[in-house]
């Protein structure tokens, strides 16, 4: 698993490709937009690094899965988000909710298990939720969220909206039966224009310690969607401009047709699987190093400077600003109170009820 040659290495490559493909929607790749995306990726990176510290300090419990190295994927795709769209993913969910506009303080406080947390301290890292902003949750059972997303998409057309669902899934989830059943339903319902679901495979090449080629004899993950009549393509997930182009084109298409579409983004987590994945026996230092060289933030930084959109000082400034923000964020999380004990018994049933058997 060494990085494939990027199709978008040089300056302007994106524009060229767009022209070639005659791409549907206008993807703003002007400087301002790119700087904005850059800031978002830095936000995610800085946030994730702070969570890693929090975990090592024992302030964050349970599992913690960070998105370091993969930033370009969610950042690019969520650029195509429109009001009323829905987004769902697994447990590696911090970036999605941040990109959709959740307050980083509330997200961090959630990880710290505080009452000010995004879901009141009930879910933790794996179960972020922000329905107002379109984020329909992070889920912990690999593959288990895929059917839900297909259901969202059906409901979007049932209600006759032109919204779509962005459904993120890991390479590891593809071997799971839930993937098969749900994507098949999506393809089937799509025949009637009843499933505007954009599947985004975050192929970081490993499910925990298992590489894709140790999970299946047919490793072209995008092509797996052929079995369900779902059109698909691949994109270099380390290159935010490339992602951006596909994201808008694919989202528009799904929105128009009500049919699903799948994009496999080839990416890499340069961090361990979870904060407790110490040894990483399943991959070499060298492999990690090679991928680090293609770091999505580094790549964009380089391009922005080369294109004179921003200079090194400007970059420094963004990073420093983000660090300052993150200090605030962490302070907020640390200083917040634990959830009140009564919260243990709320939100079990709508309308109340706990059924301890001691009511009667």
């Amino acid at each position: 698993m060494v990085p494939a040659e990027s199709e978008h290495t040089g300056d302007g490559a994106v524009e060229t490709q767009e022209q070639q493909q005659g791409g549907g929607s206008p993807v703003a790749t002007d400087g301002e937009h790119l700087v904005d995306l850059y800031k978002k990726m830095v936000l995610i990176r800085t946030f994730e690094e702070a969570t890693q510290r929090g975990f090592r300090q024992g302030k964050i419990g349970g599992y913690l899965h960070v998105y370091i190295g993969q930033e370009a994927v969610a950042t690019g795709f969520l650029d195509a988000y429109k009001d009323g769209d829905k987004v769902i993913t697994a447990y590696r969910d911090h970036p999605h909710v941040l990109l959709l506009g959740s307050d980083p303080k509330a997200v961090m406080a959630e990880l710290y298990g505080k009452g000010t947390g995004l879901v009141k301290g009930k879910g933790g890292s794996m179960h972020l939720f922000d329905v107002e902003n379109g984020f329909m949750g992070g889920y912990g059972i690999v593959g288990g969220h895929i059917p839900l997303g297909v259901g969202f998409a059906y409901a979007q057309r049932y209600e006759e909206t032109d919204n779509i669902t962005q459904l993120y899934l890991g390479d590891g989830s593809i071997s799971n039966g839930a993937f098969h059943e749900a994507v098949n339903l999506s393809g089937l319902w799509g025949k009637d224009g009843m499933n505007p679901c954009l599947f985004i495979i975050e192929n970081n090449q490993y499910g925990m310690g298992t590489s894709v080629e140790r999970t299946t004899a047919m490793t072209d993950l995008a092509a797996k969607f052929n079995a369900y009549g779902v059109e698909n393509e691949k994109v270099d997930g380390m290159d935010v401009e490339a992602v951006l182009e596909v994201a808008h084109r694919a989202a528009d298409r799904v929105r128009e047709t009500g049919k699903p579409y799948a994009v496999e983004a080839l990416t890499y987590r340069t961090a361990p699987h979870g904060a407790a994945d110490f040894f990483e026996k399943y991959r070499t230092k060298d492999e990690i190093k090679q991928w680090r060289e293609r770091d999505p933030i580094g790549q964009l930084e380089h391009r922005l400077i080369e294109r004179d959109v921003i200079d090194e000082d400007g970059i420094e400034e963004i990073k420093n600003e983000m660090k300052e923000t993150m200090k605030e964020v962490v302070r907020f999380a640390e200083e917040s109170e634990e959830p009140p004990l009564e919260e243990l018994y709320t939100d079990v049933y709508t309308g109340g009820g706990v059924y301890t058997g001691e009511e009667g």
């Binding site: 297909v150 059906y154 059943e181 049933y349 059924y355 009667g360």
Partner: protein, 330 residues
């Protein structure tokens, strides 16, 4: 009052809610074109159209999960599990998502979902097609679990289930689809969490649910005739929420109880019933609560073996006599 079958009652409940509320839709295997394996949804496709009556592939986990997603978006899906035996394939979706997503989202979503279908055995379907799963689903906070046995309750609880903003596991007495009973016209919604006194009595309480309620009623007649014993029969109807009060009150009156279930004994509903009674009516009990359960074997096919595998009138009568100290304990 008009009579209808259990099947018609379910159908009426669903159809009325579908007429009333556009958000209600149906999903399941062969519920549309085929008319439903048990003909519960016969005619629905023509009446409500393909968008609201969805025939699915054989993918219980996938379509149940999709229904949960729809429910999270505010639709009200009613999923037919062709039989509950297939629900093990959807167990992850039901238990991990439907039951919990409200909680782990900090209350940001709700899951107004009904999953319905026949539960229990009795028609020689053998090991893989014979389960009573009320204890399994009833164990998990976040779910409601109900089990109507009369046509009145079949319709009334269906109305309540569809209107409930929480996921409801709706266990139908599959063997009784053809049985008739009175069902009032109009809205007969039946509140969850209230047991039904199916027969009043003073000497012993027989506690059950699902088709075993009918068995208990027959045994009660027999006890009346043969032993001059007055048995009270309680139909739990709802397993989660559970109505402890009604059974405790009854036992405080009769001082003796038998809990009858079709399911296996271990960690079953009858164990919970016995547990609650000894906890809450300890000083009133004149004999230990006796449980009558299915035989501890996968369901066999042969008719004679199958009959022997389920609670019988004799077994229940014997248990009643045992708590009445008319029969020596085993």
């Amino acid at each position: 009052m008009p009579e209808m079958t259990y099947r018609e009652a379910l159908r009426a409940g669903m159809a009325e809610e579908m007429e009333r509320d556009e958000k209600v839709l149906l999903m399941g295997e062969d519920i549309g074109v085929y008319g439903g394996t048990h003909l519960i949804t016969d005619g629905f496709l023509d009446r409500f159209g393909k968008k609201r009556v969805i025939d699915t592939p054989i993918a219980e986990g996938g379509f149940t999960g999709a229904a949960i997603g729809m429910a999270m978006m505010g639709l009200k899906p009613v999923v037919e599990m062709m039989t509950w035996n297939f629900s093990f394939l959807a167990a992850d979706q039901i238990i991990q998502n439907a039951a919990k997503v409200r909680y782990f989202s900090g209350g940001q979503v709700e899951v107004p979902l009904v999953i319905r279908g026949p539960n229990g055995g009795g028609v020689q379907l053998s090991a893989q097609h014979t389960h009573s799963l009320e204890n399994m689903y009833g164990h998990f906070p976040g779910l409601k679990v109900v089990s109507p046995v009369t046509p009145n309750d079949a319709k009334g609880m269906m109305l309540t289930a569809i209107r409930d903003p929480n996921p409801v596991i709706f266990l139908e007495a599959g063997a009784l689809y053809g049985t008739k009973g009175e069902v009032p016209e109009g809205d007969n919604a039946v509140e969850f969490g209230k047991a039904r006194v199916a027969r009043e009595g003073t000497d012993v309480t027989l506690i059950s649910y699902g088709r075993q309620v009918n068995l208990c009623l027959r045994v009660a007649e027999k006890l009346e005739e043969e032993d001059d014993v007055s048995a009270e029969v309680i139909d739990l109807r709802s397993l989660r929420p559970f109505d402890s009060e009604t059974i405790v009150e009854s036992v405080k009156k009769t001082h003796r109880a038998v809990a009858v279930q079709e399911q296996w004994r271990w960690f079953g509903v009858a164990s919970e019933v016995a547990s609650i009674i000894q906890e809450q009516a300890f000083d009133y009990l004149d004999a230990p609560v006796v449980r009558v359960s299915g035989a501890e074997v996968p369901a066999p096919y042969a008719r004679n073996l199958e009959l022997a595998a389920f609670p019988s009138e004799d077994a229940v009568a014997k248990a009643a006599r045992q708590v009445l100290y008319q029969e020596v304990s085993a």
